[in-house]
Structure formats: structure tokens, C-alpha cells
């Protein structure tokens, strides 16, 4: 009877030991994973996705003008191989390079006019607007 009891105790000890060992191992592995993920990465620069195509701003030399007054409007962009499309609901524009256009308005264009600049390349297209007030 006593012998049977000893055998049972010994078996239980092995089970407890195995459970303890496997639990410890599990915790160690978890800690290793955590430490590994918290490890500081090397300081390598990543490109900003907007560098591929960005229209940061549209700047006009004046935004409140008289009829026939001539201003320049410039688009500040980032990216390569960019094509421009400028349009306005009222007024006229000419430009020898695409980044800057010359804008003026005839008498029928009095009012608050919208100038749109759309840029595009292989990454897509994006547009922005600027309002120009034309006074009589």
C-alpha cells in the first residue's frame, strides 16, 4: 500500500516539475519576444510618401487685384515628372513654364475667381485652389 502511494507521489512530482518547467520556458520565450520587439531599430531614413507627389501650396503675388492688373501665381510642388494643368473659372492665364503662370482679368471677370492647379505624375494627381478677387 505504501509502495503504491510512493509511486503515485513520484508521478505527481514529475508532472508538477514538467508543468513548472514548461511554464517557465513559456514565460522566457514571451520575454524574449517582447525584448526583441522593443529593441531599438537602426536609424535609417525612410522616404516620405508625399515626396512622390505633393502640392504644398499655391502662392499669388497679390490676391486682391484690379481689372487688367497682372499677377503671378506659383505652385510649390514635390515629385518628379510632374505635369501641370491650370484653369480658372474667370480670367486669363499664360505661362512659359508650368510652375508659374501670369494671371489677369478683363472687365467681365470682376468677382471672386477660383484658380485651380492640378498636378499629376505616375503616382496620381492632386489639385489645389486659390481665390483671386478682381475689382472693377
Amino acid at each position: 500500500m505504501k509502495g503504491k502511494t510512493d509511486i503515485k507521489n513520484a508521478t505527481s512530482g514529475v508532472i508538477v516539475y514538467k508543468m513548472f518547467f514548461s511554464g517557465t520556458l513559456f514565460i522566457i520565450i514571451i520575454f524574449m519576444i517582447l525584448f526583441a520587439s522593443c529593441k531599438k531599430e537602426p536609424n535609417t531614413p525612410r522616404p516620405d510618401p508625399t515626396d512622390n507627389l505633393a502640392l504644398d501650396s499655391i502662392i499669388a503675388t497679390k490676391r486682391n487685384i484690379a481689372v487688367w492688373e497682372e499677377i503671378y501665381i506659383t505652385a510649390y510642388v514635390r515629385g518628379q515628372h510632374i505635369s501641370f494643368n491650370w484653369s480658372t473659372n474667370h480670367g486669363s492665364m499664360v505661362g512659359k513654364d508650368s510652375v508659374t503662370v501670369k494671371y489677369w482679368a478683363c472687365p467681365s471677370c470682376v468677382g471672386i475667381n477660383t484658380v485651380v492647379c492640378m498636378i499629376s505624375n505616375e503616382y496620381g494627381s492632386i489639385s489645389d485652389t486659390i481665390m483671386i478677387t478682381v475689382n472693377p
Partner: protein, 314 residues
């Protein structure tokens, strides 16, 4: 002689150049003619027109403005009129701008803004209310639409060309007209009267919200038979255009005008139902609201052919 008279009818409503602020404008009217074709008759008319605008006006006075030197266009059109029933005929017309150009001088540098392409497409139905032989007379009523099917997004160097220089007017338009012709048999003189009205729907394209003012035209003409197959028409036209409106119903003060135009025409009737026409538009009185570029002169040359399917069948 009959063909000469038909030709007179055809040409008394001809294309006009509506002055706009910054360009020579678009030809006005959904009609190349106001004639009602006989049943099963097809009338083909094609013409070339050159229009020049270079005088800027402030109200009734010529004035100087910077930048704009002149504006002009070269325009081809073709129209078909088919007699569906004895009293009703259908008319369709399409134009093509060979070029529509504005010459500028900016900071002592010459610059061209130029577009080309299809203009508007028009459909009209015509009703010959009266048609008599003694005296030779005809009353024709017409109604129709002009569809902006043409080019309205032309660009140059990445810059969209201004609306007034686009080949298409960009707007759906409705028009109606009435035409009257009378001539005594054996007389050399004849008389015509014509009234035309056109109204425009609002253009909505991107940030552009714009509606052209209503357009009226009244004209009276005297016709004179110079020879058996040659006629001369002295036509006087009064054009009235209302003010345009932009977004929020804001009135465009520099729009709308009253113009009187002398429109001489020479019509030559050829054999086999062919015909030729030469005509000009010479403004004799101009009053514009605010400041606008006005038409200086235009001339047109056209060829016409009548085909009767009844005759070919018989």
C-alpha cells in the same frame, strides 16, 4: 428664279458673331437658314466664315485696353434640312472652328491663345405656316436646341483656355424664330422680316457656373434681283443681348449689348440646284454694357445643294 428665292430664304438667317468680353465670341443661332424644305427634299449647305474683333468698347465709345490686340476665328459649318412632311421639316447643323484665336501683347511680348475643334450641334423643327404663290410668300416658325457637344476644355501649355475662346459655347440653348418673306410675281423687289430668340441654360463645370444672357435678333431686308439668277439682299439686323450671370446669380456688368449690323448678301443660283452665297457683317452701331470686345467685320462664303428625292424616284 425659284431657287434664288429659296436661297434668299435660306440665308436671311445667317450666323452672327456675338461679341464677348475677351474674344470674337461664338456664332449665334441654331439655324443656317430658316427655310422650310419641301417634302422629301434635302438641302445641304456648307459655309466658311471669318470673323474679326479688335475694337474694345466702353458703352458706345471705342476705348483702349491692355494686352488684347485682336481676336478672330475661322469657322466651317454644314447644315442639313429635310422636308419630312409638306409643312414640317427638320434642320440640323454642326460647326467646326478651324481656329479661334486671340492675339495678346503682354510686357512687349506677343502671345497667341488659340483653340480649334467642334462647336455646338443644333436641331430645329420648322413649320411652314403659310406658303403662297401669288404673291410669293412664306411664313416659317422654327424651334430647336443647341447642344454643347463640342470642345470646351482646350488647353495650351498646361493652361486651360478661357471660356470665351473655347470652340463650344458650353451651354445648352433653346431657340425659337419666325420668318416672313413676300414678293410680288414679276417684281424685282422683295421683303423679308425675321425674329429670333435664344435662351441659355446655366453652365456648371467645375468651379464655372455661368449663364449667357438672352439673345434677340430682329432683322428686315430688301431683296433685289440683279439678274435672272443673281440676287442682292440688303439686310439690317438688330441684336440685343442680355447680361450674363455667374454663380449666386451675380450679374456680369460687362456683358450684354445692342448692335445694329448691315448684312449685304450676294446670291448666285447655279444649274442643277447648286447655289453660291457671299455675305458680310458690318456693324454700324454698337453699344455694350461696361467694357467689351466688339466685332469689327466678318464675311462668309457658302455653297448649297438641293436634292429632291421625289424627282429621283420618279
Amino acid at each position: 428664279m425659284k431657287h434664288v428665292l429659296i436661297f434668299v430664304l435660306l440665308l436671311l438667317l445667317t450666323k452672327l458673331a456675338a461679341g464677348q468680353c475677351c474674344s470674337a465670341g461664338n456664332p449665334v443661332g441654331g439655324d443656317g437658314s430658316n427655310e422650310g424644305a419641301a417634302k422629301n427634299e434635302l438641302i445641304i449647305f456648307t459655309s466658311y466664315k471669318h470673323s474679326l474683333s479688335e475694337d474694345y468698347f466702353h458703352n458706345g465709345t471705342k476705348t483702349e485696353v491692355p494686352y488684347i490686340q485682336k481676336s478672330y476665328y475661322d469657322y466651317n459649318n454644314i447644315s442639313l434640312t429635310y422636308g419630312l412632311f409638306p409643312m414640317f421639316s427638320l434642320h440640323t447643323e454642326l460647326g467646326y472652328f478651324i481656329d479661334k484665336t486671340q492675339e495678346l501683347n503682354i510686357d512687349n511680348e506677343n502671345e497667341l491663345i488659340r483653340s480649334h475643334g467642334l462647336g455646338d450641334l443644333s436641331f430645329n423643327i420648322r413649320y411652314s405656316a403659310v406658303k403662297t404663290v401669288k404673291p410669293i410668300s412664306q411664313v416659317v416658325f422654327s424651334a430647336g436646341v443647341r447642344l454643347p457637344v463640342g470642345v470646351f476644355d482646350e488647353e495650351k501649355n498646361g493652361i486651360t483656355i478661357p471660356m470665351s475662346l473655347q470652340p463650344s459655347s458650353g451651354a445648352l440653348k433653346y431657340n425659337a424664330s419666325a420668318f416672313y418673306f413676300r414678293k410680288q410675281p414679276g417684281h424685282l423687289f422683295g421683303f423679308t422680316g425675321f425674329a429670333f430668340f435664344e435662351m441659355s441654360k446655366t453652365i456648371r463645370k467645375g468651379y464655372l457656373i455661368y449663364r449667357y444672357g438672352n439673345y434677340f435678333q430682329f432683322s428686315v431686308a430688301g431683296t433685289y434681283a440683279l439678274a435672272k439668277n443673281v440676287s442682292f439682299i440688303a439686310n439690317a439686323k438688330l441684336e440685343l443681348r442680355g447680361k450674363d450671370r455667374r454663380e449666386s446669380e451675380i450679374v456680369v456688368e460687362s456683358s450684354g449689348s445692342r448692335v445694329v449690323i448691315f448684312n449685304p448678301q450676294l446670291i448666285i443660283d447655279l444649274k442643277r440646284m447648286w447655289g453660291l452665297v457671299l455675305m458680310g457683317d458690318i456693324p454700324v452701331y454698337k453699344f455694350v454694357n461696361g467694357y467689351q470686345l466688339t466685332n469689327k467685320i466678318s464675311f462668309q462664303f457658302g455653297i448649297r445643294k438641293n436634292i429632291s428625292f421625289c424627282n429621283s424616284i420618279h
